[in-house]
Assembly symmetry: C3
Homo-oligomer: 248 residues x 3
């Protein structure tokens, strides 16, 4: 964890949330069509500024104006493939941080090949599940976010485990995609990527817990999550963080 | 109604809901872009597993992994047309059940022709309104679901009428598409298609009534419907079912 | 304001809302993929009838069946560009009113050029922000809606300023697009376009205020806004309108 104690990390995360709210980073999202609205609303809720076009003619202009890029391989067709390639190249050329979510690349061979090709283009934060990590054979310099019951953020031998979160999150389509975009917003601060990714997930996990207090099920959980992302304060993070770490 | 009495059918429907929750069927959806998120969330709410890609290169791999297919002809362009053709062929080849919603095929001649072509490809459950049924001249071996004030599920001379439901459902875009996808989830159980379609609509109608208790209008009805689909129990169906049937 | 006093305008707006509910205008929407669901639900909430296809093969058939057209240039790709061109031409040929939202045309040169080309095709209501108006150099016969803290509806030297509204509106992606579609629904009444656009925005602004009473943040504001658009009465407009006007 870059030499920080757990409580130093939690204080870092709380302060990073404040910096996101103050700097209002622009995050361009190349998201599947299913989740675009939720991701845009979630970014707005933390005071980031989303843009969502995946038109090949426009993507470079929007990535240039953005501070970070969030890429998701869901609902992948040839046009989206072109746009993602253009967007990731532009992002690499401009030195912008980016997040890659290979979204079920284990279901479709063409999607897995494409994910591997993108990983050669630049070094993203990779947000994936166990099966996807295994398939993609990620190298040690990539910060990997393995989501599941707990979120684990790993770089080489170092890992941070976030125990905050709520099971209803998994019942709402797109919350994983949104957490990737929130990571991109924190990366835009230009701080250590490992800490930024873990800070973003800690904020997201705490917001999920706050949301659950106002939810009757997965339907009401979604607006409650957006309300909580809008309301969450550094203090909520300091009070509720449950993390552990392993220095490798 | 395949020889069942009304109360035997209601018990069948209640048990079918339980089996859906336990078996977690995978439903691939070829849906218009407007409603993808609602349909995915609604399937997750009943513990089915949705997938939504309509990319021509990926659709067959996803249909192969799915237990049933739900097709909606809204926002139909040439790429979606290709994907639907590929998806329906794969589904027919694999013997998977599927639902077809011709979505306003009476507005657009090219859409009606396409619907007729799909009906020759295999025998779906057809979810349509009066005008669409008339236009498509469906043969007697197709299970037809006519939605409206009451839902009528017909096969040949036999019909089941579901009186449960709530008028706010019609004010929320995509609830009809979602009911089609819920039918697909019940079809995945591999039971009599006529009973499965009627069971799905009964569960959906009862959930709509439960949702209305927590709604102030169409906006709050949508999350309440998802909450209700998540919460609805076999017991709710047994207590609230209002159906009638006609043996032809 | 076409010679009306402020209170005459407010009474006009209240009556126009009633006429929209009674006539149920059909509004075809060529919207970016992010906001389609919200826009469809918002139109249904005021009892208008939305359609959303942007397939080039279908758009003309749908525009023909519609009473007004609402066009938004977000997520613009070549197919959407074709559809919008076809839709706007059909609309001009049929003499249907239409609304144009150039959506960040200041971000992308190709989008700005396309917006200018559409403005030569016919005379829409133009819904834009300050930067977009400046860029597009709109002629005096276009009714311009400048959204921001207050909404200003201008034609030539005459302007109406709507002070109703709520800051949470800006935190929900697609509320601006929806307000454009609501303008289209009011335009479908066939009355003075300047008054219709201002009436629509007044109704929308008052609904936003009603919604805020039931919102905990931007997430719960969205369903509350749809509930309010469904519930808002002419009386709410008469009681809550805060407008000013300038006769030039």
């Amino acid at each position: 964890m870059s030499g920080l104690t757990s409580s130093e990390f939690v204080r870092h995360a709380a302060a990073a949330l404040e910096r996101v709210r103050n700097t209002r980073p622009r995050v361009h999202c190349l998201m599947n069509t299913v989740v675009q609205k939720l991701v845009a609303d979630g970014l707005s809720a933390i005071d980031a500024i989303p843009s969502m076009t995946s038109s090949p003619e426009e993507v470079e202009a929007f990535v240039e104006k953005a501070d970070a890029l969030s890429v998701n391989l869901g609902t992948l067709d040839s046009q989206r493939r072109t746009s993602i390639t253009l967007g990731v190249s532009a992002s690499a050329r401009l030195g912008r941080p980016w997040v890659l979510d290979p979204a079920h690349c284990d279901y479709s061979a063409s999607r897995a090949t494409f994910a591997q090709q993108l990983l050669r283009e630049g070094t993203p934060i990779l947000r994936a599940n166990e099966a996807e990590f295994w398939l993609l054979q990620v190298s040690d310099d990539v910060v990997g976010v393995r989501t599941g019951k707990h979120d684990v953020v790993r770089k080489g031998a170092q890992s941070i485990t976030i125990e905050n979160g709520h099971p209803l999150t998994a019942k709402v389509t797109g919350t994983g995609c949104l957490s990737g975009a929130v990571i991109a917003a924190f990366l835009a601060l230009g701080e250590d990527p490992h800490l930024s990714a873990a800070s973003a997930l800690l904020a997201f996990g705490v917001a999920s817990e706050l949301a659950a207090d106002h939810a009757r099920g997965p339907g009401s959980f979604e607006p409650a999550l957006l309300d909580a992302l809008h309301a969450i304060s550094p203090d909520d993070i300091l009070k509720r963080a449950r993390i552990s770490h392993d220095q490798g």
